[in-house]
Symmetry: C2
Subunit: 217 residues, 2 copies
């Protein structure tokens, strides 16, 4: 097992951007204590390679064309892979944050993390310690404070659906207000509630989630 080799942590890099993979390899390979065993460009390939080369830590992007990162993590967990997964992604807004951690990710880091932060995070992950970027950590806290969030499948009220339909048509808050005979303030209140229930932060994402869940169209 590589873990017994005191100094060196073996790594697998998973990202669909060649540029990112090169960048990470360029940072990690020369650094003391890290060895990059390989790279994968998608989730399915990542699972296969992880099982084959058995790295200590997998650096995993979440959004990839060839197999979602969350699915890959879940699959590795299911198969009892030894590797720890450190999610390395671009956005803290990513709605996959919680699913990724639930699926078994050991840590969650943003790509704009400093070099030393990355090193620390990898070492922590290799030891099984959880590392979260501050933004992600705070999201977790709020998620815990309303435990029923994802599970209960928050349902929109009839009025909220009505507002969301107008949003999908491209109406501004003012137009929605006129159309529904209410004030703009009320429209904003409804939207804030909608964002909370759908776990998004803007109208575009709200429309997307609504379509995916069949609330619209």
């Amino acid at each position: 097992m590589n873990a017994e080799n005191t100094g060196t942590i073996t790594l697998l890099i998973v990202d669909d951007h060649p540029v990112v993979r090169d960048g990470l390899r360029g940072i990690l390979d020369p650094a003391d204590g890290f060895t990059v065993l390989g790279e994968a460009s998608g989730g399915t390939e990542a699972v296969e390679m992880t099982l084959r080369v058995d790295p200590d830590v997998v650096l995993m992007d979440l959004r990839m064309p060839a197999g979602s990162g969350v699915d890959a993590i879940a699959e590795l967990t299911r198969r009892g892979a030894r590797a720890r997964v450190l999610v390395l992604t671009t956005f803290d807004t990513d709605s996959d944050t919680l699913p990724a951690i639930e699926a078994g990710a050991t840590g969650y880091l943003l790509k704009d993390a400093l070099r030393d932060e990355l090193f620390d995070a990898i070492r922590a992950a290799a030891e099984g310690r959880t590392v979260l970027s501050p933004a992600v950590a705070s999201r977790l806290v709020t998620a815990v404070r309303r435990p029923t969030a994802r599970t209960v499948e928050e349902t929109l009220s009839a009025r909220e659906v009505q507002v969301l339909e107008e949003v999908a048509r491209g109406a501004s808050n003012r137009e929605i207000a006129r159309g529904l005979f209410i004030s703009e303030a009320t429209v904003k209140t409804h939207l804030t509630h909608i964002y909370g229930k759908l776990d998004v932060r803007d109208r575009a994402a709200a429309v997307a989630v609504a379509y995916r869940r069949g609330v619209l169209g």
Copy 2:
């Protein structure tokens, strides 16, 4: 034929909001020269009533739960109904503007039109003259200036789809820029093009249209 009755124009009011129907009736019934023959709350009912009571002018809302206004207009045109249809809707942003006119609407007026504007528009419609609110008129002009707009089914480039996917995830322009390794300016350019192609004016509506057309999800 009512049209021969010089002074009086007979009307049918079609709107899903009872408040709006009452309001219109309250304005029109007492006014000289107008007689409201009836009201309908949806498109299918509107067609049936129009054929039955034969009004000079149908005041038609476009968005209704029970049968779309555009469909109703098309059906009336197909059946050769004598009545002129004056579309009376809330938004000039309405993407049904052009379809409604194509379907055979004689005029297109916004609900916030002044009382006299409404009267004039109804009289004009009764005589078969086209009446358009300024905002709608300007939309028509721009639509004519790019004749291939609706017909050719403008197709998004791969890059544009990529940007739109990020938008659907709730990413801000800045986040999209970081994620795709381009500048915010470029993201904005892509979005402007997307809006033009999808005939919308904000990201939320773009996401909605994309889902409806199967470009996303």
